[in-house]
């Protein structure tokens, strides 16, 4: 089973934590990724740039509408993702709990639609 683990956290709070905090976080992420690679669980995973870089595209009646954002009033924003190969939801849950941002943010687990 392939699961997408979406990492949500309060971006503003993260940005206030300072550089050394961020470096430590990245180091922990690298460790987790390495561990998951050894277990043949990790397929892909990336950190995203902040939501201020986001662009939204909609096509309505043939017209392409492009806008800045989204800047929806949500408490947590998507900050990155892991794509993992797991036996079942229990294993995916364990992997999600290893993600450092789970300690202050939250991880949404979604199975991929097409499973071969």
């Amino acid at each position: 089973m392939k699961y997408l683990l979406m990492i949500y956290a309060n971006e503003a709070w993260e940005q206030q934590q300072g550089e050394s905090w961020d470096d430590a976080l990245v180091a922990r992420y690298n460790q987790v990724v390495e561990q998951l690679q050894q277990q043949n669980v990790f397929l892909d995973g990336k950190r995203l740039t902040p939501t201020e870089t986001a662009t939204t595209v909609k096509v309505r009646e043939g017209q392409t509408l492009v806008s800045d954002g989204p800047f929806a009033e949500t408490k947590e924003q998507l900050g990155g993702f892991f794509l993992v190969e797991c036996r079942d939801l229990d294993q995916a849950t364990e992997v999600a709990a290893m993600i450092p941002s789970a300690e202050y943010g939250s991880i949404e687990i979604r199975p991929l639609w097409y499973q071969e």
Partner: protein, 404 residues
């Protein structure tokens, strides 16, 4: 084959058969479909030719149905071949010990934290307790359509998110225990006032709590729940009269109570309490223990029961527990004391459609010699009760007062 025998056969085998088929199909919907087809076949064949070993018949028939269905299915072909070659499995029986683990797996799947609590309860009642969707809908006070949608969504989530059919790893067991206990508690209570269901459901729930207490030993609340269930079961023989009407605790013939159950429950509760991890199931067991150790209703130690309800309210409060505490207080200190609190509870409207609320009001009115209020409340209790036995009981109370 009578309807009752049918129902009891269905209930007896539904859970182990589903557990077995779930292991084969890994899909709750398909497991249920094959089980229903198998049971239908049993309905057609058993009256003419009853099998020597009904559980073995069910298992072989279900297995063959599975093989037929999935013979050409790529994903399960390997499994089918493995099954066909397993000759010795054909003689297996559906015994408790053999299927104990399968049943626990089924429960842990149904009570998985990735399913919201409402879905856990609906699934457990439908699969583990073997209630039909109509019965589950009635027990949960939902329309059948809502319930069916809930079940469909829950099954889809299990399948699409691959919620596993396993007993959780030891490090996760404890965290998963509460949800399982909570649903087993609901299962125990869901048929509480329907005579036929009560016995089967309660026995089944009790059996599963016992298995849980072995799987995850030394847990005070599991033991507390087991004690609670045993105290209730001890009183079962005295709960209905010969015509099937409910006999309230105050009028039961206590000589009919099962002394072995009471002794066992008492011992288990004592062990639980010594663990110094107090919880609501232990408190509820202690309350039932007070009743079970009292020779006659008039000797009941209501001050003790009231004190236990106060402890319960400190640990966990709900309008129903408040109502019970108020009733105990009315018995220990007189009905006048209870009126103010009852009014407060009424103002919160949480129990506006809860039959026992009106039964307590009726009882207190009666003791205050307010006959019209008693009649009115018994009538309301009858209106809001969902059990025909209970409805009859309240109707008779109101009638008796009208004629007096």
């Amino acid at each position: 084959m009578s309807v009752t025998l049918l129902e009891s056969t269905y209930r007896q085998y539904s859970q182990p058969m589903l557990a077995y088929l779930l292991r084969l199909t890994e899909d709750l919907d398909q497991a249920q479909e094959i089980w229903h087809e198998t049971f239908l076949l049993a309905l057609q064949q058993w009256p003419q030719k009853p099998p020597e070993n009904p559980p073995a018949w069910l298992k072989i028939t279900a297995k063959n149905k599975f093989i037929d269905k999935y013979r050409h299915h790529k994903m399960t072909r390997e499994k089918v071949q493995q099954l066909v070659s397993e000759q010795q499995e054909a003689t297996d029986e559906l015994t408790d010990t053999q299927f104990g683990d399968e049943q626990l797996k089924l429960i842990f799947t149904c009570c998985h934290p990735a399913l919201e609590f409402d879905k856990q309860v609906a699934l457990t009642l439908n699969t583990v307790a073997g209630l039909t969707t109509a019965e589950v809908a009635q027990a949960l006070l939902l329309s059948q359509k809502t319930l069916e949608q809930r079940l469909t969504r829950a099954k889809r989530k299990i399948k699409q998110a691959a919620i596993p059919f396993v007993i959780p790893e030891p490090k996760h067991l404890l965290g998963r225990l509460n949800a399982v206990l909570k649903t087993l508690y609901l299962m125990f209570n869901s048929g509480a006032n329907q005579r036929e269901d009560t016995l089967e459901l309660q026995k089944n729930a009790c059996f599963l709590v016992r298995r849980l207490s072995r799987l995850i030993p030394h847990q005070a609340e599991t033991e507390g729940m087991l004690a609670l269930m045993l105290f209730h079961q001890a009183r079962q023989p005295a709960r209905f009269d010969t015509s099937g009407e409910i006999i309230p605790l105050s009028e039961q013939n206590r000589a009919l109570w099962h002394p072995d159950y009471i002794t066992e429950a008492h011992e288990i509760l004592k062990t639980a309490m010594q663990r110094q991890a107090l919880g609501v199931y232990q408190i509820q067991a202690a309350i039932q223990g007070v009743h079970c150790h009292t020779k006659q209703w008039s000797d009941t130690d209501w001050a003790e029961i009231e004190a236990l309800y106060r402890v319960h309210l400190n640990l966990d409060t709900s309008p129903v527990v408040e109502l019970n505490a108020i009733y105990a207080m009315s018995m220990s200190r007189g009905p006048e004391c209870a009126i103010a609190q009852l009014k407060q509870l009424e103002a919160s409207a949480a129990l506006a459609q809860y039959a026992p609320f009106y039964a307590v009001k009726a009882d207190i009115s009666l003791r205050l010699k307010n006959i019209p209020a008693a009649i009115e409340n018994f009538t309301l209790a009858e209106m809001f009760s969902s059990s025909s036995h209970e409805k009859n009981h309240f109707a008779r109370q109101a009638d008796a007062l009208r004629q007096a």
